[in-house]
Symmetry: C2
């Protein structure tokens, strides 16, 4: 009996008049016991309210645990919310649990989190992005469990990955806007230490503009969460610093909607006076009076696929190690 006075298998066995081993066999339905014995054991399990201690089983090295470490930046916008929902629902359907860690975009925090979670012997690991500290990479490599890097598609992942090519996505939007005749481009996003997915989109956007012979004015990178209000004053900053910007690409739809509000407040018409493009096809985009030009990404599916990859590997299946879920550019009425 431990300090919480929880019932152990030994007590159940003693009460039923059998050995621990027999009780264990009954509980695992392994066979090799009489019906009479099974009934006695199960009756005591019920009576004593026995709950197995899974820690002991995993500790003994006989099975793996049933939780998967999941590291995401945070839940500030709907995107990772949906990724997380996809992961947890899929894991839950297979009796697995999510052990969550919100690590902003800090590699240090992620490293510490990985170290702690690994010490609990998770069944797998799902981490966001392709950038990790060297020690974190080393730990993930040596952990001997399935590891999925999500969000950023990456042809040579630590173990597996599912996501999309953000550079391509940014390039596609830049080219789309250039084809609509724009020549002077703006960008509003948020700033992070790490080279992240949004930075890759900006790079792609910049490249597309160069290829088309257009001009990208100095991007506005805010130190803030990518929400409505930052979109509002980020746009203010951009337009104050540069004249003649014809179209603005935002890090995501929340920022873009904030930008729309700011432009309308100034009396500008969209898309006549200025074009607006977002990213993520977030719910907010769906309820704008006019359809926002954006890029749709299967957030929920990324989460589901990541969970599936971990689960398949646990079950011993060999599977495709990298999945590119792609993106779909949604032409809207907020650009010409």
């Amino acid at each position: 009996m431990n300090k919480n006075s929880k019932v152990s298998l030994a007590e159940v066995a003693a009460a039923a008049g059998v050995s621990k081993m027999t009780a264990s066999r009954v509980l695992r339905e392994e066979g090799g016991y009489s019906e009479q014995t099974r009934d006695k054991v199960m009756a005591e399990v019920e009576r004593l309210g026995y709950l197995p201690n899974r820690l002991a089983t995993v500790f003994a090295g006989d099975t793996s645990s049933t939780f998967v470490g999941v590291s995401i930046p945070g839940l500030g916008n709907e995107i990772f919310t949906q990724v997380l929902e996809g992961i947890d629902r899929k894991l839950g359907a297979y009796q697995h649990q999510t052990m969550l860690g919100m690590n902003e975009h800090s590699l240090d925090q992620e490293e510490r989190w990985i170290e702690t979670v690994l010490s609990w012997k998770p069944a797998g690991l799902i981490v966001t992005g392709r950038a990790h500290s060297p020690k974190a990479v080393h730990m993930m490599r040596g952990a001997g469990i399935p590891v999925v890097e999500i969000w950023d598609y990456n042809s040579s992942p630590i173990d597996m990955c599912v996501g999309l090519d953000h550079f391509d996505s940014g390039y596609a939007m830049g080219r789309h806007l250039a084809e609509r005749g724009y020549q002077r481009f703006g960008y509003v996003g948020t700033f992070h230490q790490t080279a992240n997915a949004a930075a890759a989109r900006l790079s792609g956007y910049r490249k597309a503009i160069e290829d088309a012979g257009g001009t990208l004015v100095q991007p506005v990178l805010l130190r803030d969460v990518p929400g409505f209000y930052p979109g509002h004053y980020g746009t203010e900053q951009l337009l104050a610093a540069h004249r003649g910007v014809e179209v603005i690409y935002y890090q995501n739809d929340n920022l873009a909607v904030g930008g729309i509000h700011y432009c309308q407040k100034l009396g500008m018409s969209i898309p006549e006076d200025i074009g607006i493009a977002g990213w993520g096809d977030m719910p907010i985009a769906a309820i704008q009076p006019v359809r926002l030009t954006s890029t749709a990404v299967p957030h929920l599916r990324i989460g589901q696929l990541a969970a599936e990859m971990v689960l398949s590997r646990i079950q011993g299946h060999e599977i495709k190690k990298t999945r590119d879920v792609g993106h779909v550019l949604i032409p809207g009425a907020t650009v010409l």
Copy 2:
């Protein structure tokens, strides 16, 4: 060496030429060893990449684990997203982790989830709502760990609780609307088996209307997630079934915004032709052209408080067992 060929403390100790116990003392900085010994041990820890197996420690009953089971309905709207964010950030700040479970509003699913999570010996449990299966309640009572019921304020919780009185919140809105002169009231929400918080708000609303001598037409309860589109067609359903509804109270702001869109599509003016009230003061409300009448609730704070209560109890502090965070009715321009 176990099957994952992970390094054990015994190996580190052998490599350093000391006993397991000495290595253990060095790692826990317990004292009672020479500097020379410490350096030898730490050098081997580095060299072998030793990661302690926390399972063994907890299993041995010496300490508690560092993860907290958190059961929420889901992440369908921003409300529980923020609650979860509050919980995980607070836990993370104290080196604890969230073990997540999304249990829709199913008590069965919650019960199974609680059973599994308890078998991992969590340091605490945070569950949503006051309704749980008898077996779930029994397990939580007997677990010997801090348990916090969030969302619904409840003066006699299983262990602790933090939330608000949803009946009061609904009553307040009903009275507010009655005071503005409305007499014929509608309600649009979603349907769940369990008596949940939204049902309590509806009860309060109904009571306020009765007390004011008004009429509540048959509420529309959809079997759907409470998002924009259900708000749209729920309103359609309500207005088709009943004439002369003057104001509609929605389960949350997402539904209310869907309702606004439907009414505007019909050519109705808000609030001249119909009043609209939501709940939750969700981000969507902030970007409506006119301020939505709603009720603000400190979502993030509920999560933070719940995590704090668990952490305080783990540290052995005696704390207030119930916290009512209250609500604030936000009068807007969508009612007269």
